[in-house]
């Protein structure tokens, strides 16, 4: 009697697992699962067998099965948690995770943040110790500030290098795109590798100081075509409004404090201006992909369409993306080809974000509409209210809704990134590979900004040569970017069994060119009249820079216990002086797999133990000019001419320069321990690092009379940072019905500036930074020797016995009898001392649930909303209109008439917080459509809540200066995944 065994193999989320093998132990009989995860073994004699179910990256299941007739047996495989066989993408190659010696964190798709994620970097927010990813605003497609270990630089760029499928991309923003990364569809991404320490990153040389993020996109898999379709629909709302006085409150306040004329200005309406400018934003996101293989050609093709409306009216984004990956092999796998091409078109409408501040400030006793058609019908402040046709009040706050609805700022951006990678394994020496990588990243952004001539925002307009006024705006912009890369490297890997060693070596060459073309246009009124004098002197400008590099890495493993890695890169950069443009960046790292030592082998509870130590030198050359190592003369614009006699001359102006400029250099040490317990159900890593950046690219004052610029980016200064990182992951429950995984990461990071001037100068207060709103040219932060970067530089507020700040009274800290700039002191910093991420995923049969939370401790924020709109002067201002005020006015009672009050430490607030980024729940229906396909539904809430003492709208402010940020919405998402 023969029977059969049939069934389905699924993964931990109940999705089918195609390509898993099911074999009967002790025989060669077996089957492979089809794209729906089904297997069938026919013609099996009745009896009891042991079945083995295997899939790479998953824990093999062995189960005893008694066959009689048609037996059905389903399996659910669990991933090998932090699988030891996991392969991690490193610079120029891959490595088994267990052989890593540097601080590299790998995040794959299953661990990504869920919900509506429109820009790739948000996928790993809160997921990696030492990496903070903070969205810059709640606007559609807005970028994020990514800091790896807090960044190693001061006033130059602190952004990490991002490499997509082997193509290092430029950090330059693209005109018309809110964020260059928003042109990459997050759904196409397979994994992130974050290279955190110098030994991992130094192979990227003079761009590696702030860490490197390697993004790998999804590729085709062998087997029949699998179609994946996902669809999401979501609704976003602002979690809360900025706290301002209501119409009745402001009426009371003006009546109590104002003059008769001011009281007469009060209106009778009660308008909630913030309600007027915000909306519920609906977003749909649809993605489809087909992957599989025909003979020797694995492929994956995908397309996506995102349609997002912002919570601020008139902001939106539509994105169409397409990606193709082909990875054929030729000559019996001796030549592997990997072709990637990704394209995107993003159409965006940018709202006038000035409306956010206007909505806070606009008088709520005024109606939205005036009742007449002037200014498009929006109520505006006039010079003389008795003359409805008279001039607009100059400098008055403008109607927030008018600012939004009377601006049409739209862009269309195209971007394509792609590469062709050839990997040839030599026939005569198969250990040797030659790898050639040709890549490109091109983009084009165009847009226009149209404001009708009725709009109050452009009421002034300009006079043409006949003295006729032209109003409104009809401007355009255009930019193209083209980055190309050629890379070739040889790699050699060999097991030397006789000496129990394994070596792995890479040596290569790289040439990369970054070029941007910025087109210049004049300024046009809405009717198309060009403003006299604004015609550009040059039609375009084309800044460009290049890098030529050679690099190498040697990995040596002895007895599978001791791992030694050395890397070196030599970079030449066009940004520097010819005689000092080359730099060498070495690193070395050592790892010791203690678990393999006999003394630990016997401890069964301990499944992994590894020590790692590394040291390296990396560089940083971003955020500085391309050419200014010599002085160039630039011709002035047509509005910056000078008159001699009756003629106007365009001026030749020599520019500032710094001949000795070079990359900044970071020497970093990393010491770490990796551990695993209970068959790696609990794994963790603790990293300690110490970094010292020297030759800081730092804008410092020049001795007057020696340069054409009084401040120039020079290489003077040192910055040290120290940190401790912890990553813990636990499979708390691991049964066939229930799995529960929890991941916690924690980062402690401090930094201190140790040098800023050539010779030590205690009288030098430091370099001011952090411009604030209110007045002109005011700053609130400073970089000073002996203090943390971006320390606030403020007056010490004196408080009355009632606990309220005494207006205009500050501590005379140097006791010279005068309160002036010499009494400013450094108080707290916007950099957090610690930050945390906590993720949880729970699966119960067909249900899944999870959350991601983040927290930050010790970060302070300057509440610019309070300081600029929480004063009496903002209500009764010099312009002669009434404005609304932040409710802080009632608490502080500040008049705002003292210039120093905006620099008071009263406005520096503790912005430590806990934020629930995402809570999600899903249900897997399993087979639908006649036993094929798989359907999963999910629901998410993003930005669920924030716990903080911070008094403004949102404590998470990258710059540390909170000034009417586009609010981060709370988003409710419904999602569907269907695979066929």
């Amino acid at each position: 009697q023969t029977g059969s065994i049939k069934g389905k193999v699924s993964d931990e989320t109940n999705l089918p697992l195609p390509g898993a093998t099911v074999t009967i132990d002790g025989t060669t009989i077996g089957s492979t699962t089809d794209p729906n995860g089904n297997y069938a073994i026919n013609n099996v004699k009745a009896g009891t067998y042991t079945l083995s179910v295997k899939f790479i990256g998953y824990i093999t299941i062995k189960k005893s099965v008694t066959v009689s007739g048609a037996t059905i047996e389903n399996f659910s495989l669990l991933p090998e948690s932090k699988s030891l066989s996991e392969v991690v993408v490193i610079g120029y190659g891959t490595q088994r995770k267990k052989d890593l010696s540097g601080a590299i964190t790998n995040v794959t798709a299953k661990d990504f943040q869920k919900g509506v994620i429109t820009t790739p970097e948000q996928l790993i927010a809160g997921k990696v110790a030492g990496v903070s990813v903070i969205s810059n605003s709640g606007a559609p497609g807005a970028g994020s500030t990514i800091r790896i270990r807090g960044g190693a630089s001061l006033s130059a760029s602190n952004d990490p290098l991002i490499v997509i499928d082997g193509v290092p991309i430029s950090n330059a923003s693209i005109s018309g795109a809110a964020n260059p990364l928003s042109l990459i569809n997050p759904n196409d991404i397979e994994s992130f590798s974050v290279l955190k320490d110098a030994s991992a990153a130094a192979i990227y040389g003079n761009r590696a100081s702030n860490g490197v993020i390697l993004i790998t996109t999804k590729k085709g898999k062998s087997g029949k075509p699998v179609i994946d379709f996902s669809s999401q629909v979501s609704a976003s709302k602002i979690p809360k409004e900025a706290s301002v006085l209501s119409a009745d409150q402001i009426r009371d306040y003006v009546k109590a404090n104002g003059t008769a004329a001011q009281i007469a200005q009060l209106g009778t309406a009660s308008t909630d201006w913030q309600k007027q400018i915000y909306q519920t934003g609906i977003t749909t996101d649809n993605n489809i992909s087909v992957s599989g293989a025909t003979k020797h050609l694995p492929y994956r093709v995908s397309a996506g369409y995102l349609d997002q409306d912002g919570v601020l009216k008139t902001s939106s984004m539509q994105r169409i993306t397409g990606a193709i990956n082909l990875s054929p092999s030729f000559f019996t796998d001796h030549l592997k080809v990997n072709l990637n091409a990704k394209g995107a078109q993003v159409k965006q409408r940018f709202a006038n974000e000035g409306a956010i501040g206007s909505a806070v400030s606009f008088d709520p006793t005024k109606p939205v509409y005036s009742g007449n058609s002037r200014f498009g019908g929006y109520w505006q402040w006039l010079n003389n209210p008795a003359q409805p046709g008279g001039p607009l009040k100059d400098l008055a706050t403008l109607n927030p809704l008018g600012l939004l609805e009377q601006q049409d700022n739209r862009s269309t951006v195209y971007r394509s990134i792609g590469n062709l990678q050839l990997d040839y394994k030599f026939h005569f020496l198969p250990e040797l590979h030659a790898n050639v990588n040709l890549g490109y990243d091109v983009s084009k952004g165009t847009g226009h900004n149209i404001i009708p001539d009725s709009a109050a925002s452009n009421y002034k307009g300009f006079l043409d040569t006949k003295g006729v006024t032209h109003r409104g705006l009809n401007n355009q912009y255009k930019q193209t970017q083209s980055n190309t890369i050629f890379e070739g490297y040889l790699s050699y890997a060999k097991d030397l069994k006789s000496i129990a060693s394994h070596i792995d070596a890479v040596a290569g060459y790289s040439y990369q060119d970054f070029s941007i073309t910025n087109y210049n246009f004049g300024n046009f009124a809405h009717d198309g009249t060009e403003q006299p004098g604004t015609q550009p002197v040059y039609p375009y400008d084309k800044p460009e820079n290049r890098l030529i590099s050679v690099y190498g890495r040697l990995n040596y493993v002895f007895e599978d216990k001791y791992i030694l890695t050395g890397t070196v890169r030599r970079d030449g950069s066009s940004k520097f002086n010819p005689n000092q443009r080359f730099g060498t960046f070495p690193s070395v790292a050592f790892a010791w797999k203690l678990k393999e030592e006999s003394m630990f082998k016997g401890i069964t509870a301990l499944s992994d133990l590894k020590l790692r130590a590394g040291y390296g030198i990396t560089g940083q050359q971003d955020g500085i000019g391309n050419y200014d190592v010599i002085s160039f003369y630039n011709l002035s614009t047509n509005t910056a001419q000078y008159q001699f006699g009756d003629s106007f001359y365009n001026l030749y102006r020599p520019g500032g320069y710094y001949a000795l400029r070079t990359w900044e250099q970071t020497a970093a040490t990393n010491v770490a321990i990796d551990f695993g317990f209970l068959d790696n159900r609990i794994t963790g890593t603790v990293d300690y690092y110490h970094r010292k950046t020297s030759k800081l690219l730092n804008k410092i004052p020049q001795p007057a009379g020696t340069n054409f610029s009084n401040y120039i980016v020079a290489n003077i200064g040192d910055l040290t940072s120290n940190g401790l990182e912890l990553n813990l992951s636990a499979d708390v429950i691991r049964t066939s019905d229930i799995t529960w995984n929890v991941n916690l990461n924690a980062t402690y990071n401090t930094n201190k500036i140790t040098k800023l001037t050539l010779a030590p100068d205690p009288s030098y207060p430091g370099a001011p930074t952090g411009g604030i709103s209110g007045g002109t040219g005011n700053t609130i932060q400073i970089n000073s020797v002996g203090y943390s970067r971006n320390s606030f530089y403020v007056y010490q507020q004196v408080y009355g016995t009632d606990g309220k700040p005494l207006d205009g009274v500050y501590v005379d800290r140097n006791k010279d009898g005068i309160v002036n700039e010499n009494d400013l002191y450094r108080y707290k910093s916007s950099d957090p001392k610690g930050y945390f991420g906590l993720s949880s995923n729970l699966n119960y049969k067909k249900w899944s649930a999870g959350f991601v939370a983040r927290a930050s401790v010790g970060n302070y924020v300057y509440n610019n909303v309070f300081s600029s709109s929480g004063t009496q002067l903002s209500v009764f201002n010099g312009i002669g209109i009434l404005n609304n005020a932040s409710t802080n006015l009632l608490e502080s009672g500040m008049t705002g008439s003292f210039d120093k009050s905006r620099l008071s430490d009263y406005y520096i607030q503790n912005a430590s917080f806990i934020r629930m980024d995402n809570v999600n729940v899903g249900y897997n229906f399993g087979k639908v459509f006649h036993n094929t396909g798989n359907l999963r539904l999910s629901a998410n809430v993003q930005n669920v809540f924030v716990i903080t003492k911070y008094k403004g709208l949102d404590p998470e402010v990258n710059t540390g200066i909170d000034n009417n940020l586009y609010p981060r919405p709370r988003t409710y998402v419904l999602g569907l995944n269907l695979s066929l």
Binding site: Q643, P654, G878
Partner: protein, 509 residues
Amino acid sequence: CTKKLDLLPTNDVTASQVYSTPEGYKQAFAKVYGAFALTGNKGPAGDDGTKDIQGIDEGTSDFFRLYWCAEELPTDEAVVGWGDVGLPDFHNMSWSSSNTFLTGLYYRCMYQITLANDFIRQSSDANLSSRGIKGTDADKVHQYVAEARFLRAYQYSILMDLFAAPPFVTENDPLGGPLPKQISRKDLFAYIESELKAIDAGLVDARGNEYGRADKAAAWALLARIYLNAEVYTGTAHYPDAVTYSKKVIDAGYSLVTDYTKLMRADNNLNKNEFILTINYDGLHTQSYGGATFMTHAPVGGSMPAADYGIAGGWAGLRTTKAFVNLFPGGASSADKRAQFYTDGQNIDINTISTFTDGYAISKFKDVKIDGGAPQSLDYADMDLPIFRLAEQYLIYAEATTRGGGGDAALALSYVNKLRARAYQSATTGQLTALTTDLLLDERGRELYWEGFRRTDLIRYKKFVEDTYLWPFKGGSKDGKGVESFRTVYPLPSADVTANPNLKQNTGY
């Protein structure tokens, strides 16, 4: 292969390209002048790459605007209501070495000196011959060089007056070379004096140059000005020299325009009979938020009708104090037509400096044409600002004579009476019969107010820091009070003291 790393900008050019033609020389020379009126290479304002001075808001970084703040705000002539950090320090007389405005002004002056030095260096005979600039082209460049030296001497005179002992660089100090040495106030005086005399032969005759460019009279006018103040700068008075040089200017053929109230207008280039040298602005071609734009926008607020001032709207900042109003007999309604106050809705007394309606406004600067016509732009002024005009030379002659400089007392009196005849629009009313130094200080106030003279005048008269003359909010006190004597000199900016260890900070700071 490394040749691929040699990249050049698309539009920017090197010195050898700029200075390869006579036209290039003139455009580079125009920058030496243009840096007086413009704040960067993009009008009215650009970004960090296009602005001239870093570390200060670009609109504020204009030469005349900053110089005006330093000269007028700590005096009886002006207050400003804005809360820009450090700005109220001027009338509070509490500035420190990190004051943004003083730092910006110092760097603006030093920047213009650095530009002049570069131009002079590029115009050496060796450079001219190697670039094939010869004949009349070379003659023109020589004339440019004389003017660049004048502009440099002028900027040094500002630094000498405000900061006393700045770093000293000339065309002989290469860019990026050793740290500049500090020069004492006395040595700087001697240098300026000798430079102005040395370039006399190279400058065009008085009133012989293109409008907007310096001639011999400009150099004499500057000599007369520094001689008048020589005692403050060097401890030694030079009144006879002040008499000599102001007389040379007066005799060069200038004349007063007939109506004082039309001096500061959009088309005041027509007033060149009185103007010896101007900073030239233009609403279309020379746009900045400083200079004439500042002078025509910042004083307008309250109920002042913007259209009367040729602007789209005022900035509601500048007013004056009661002490200044009282210099005019009869105050704001004086028969002296120089009393150009706007009083509707304004209180003569200042309660709160940030309130525009506290303190009378000044209506002397209007960007409308002399015939009342509209300017080219309502946002950027067309008006030119005189840095030397005949009236000042009359007053220098009168004061130096009265102080014993050996001039003709009757002539001195007649010069002052010329000003008063214009002021009262009468050959009889308002005429003086004798001069005293105190009377001349008041007369300078009435004639030259808001043109950038007051602080220097009060220091020369020992009334700036002393408690012998008080005005509302002097020293930050509502009734006024004296302050420390070291405040007759501004501090060197801490930024440069740090960057250049050769600099010794001024006493008291």
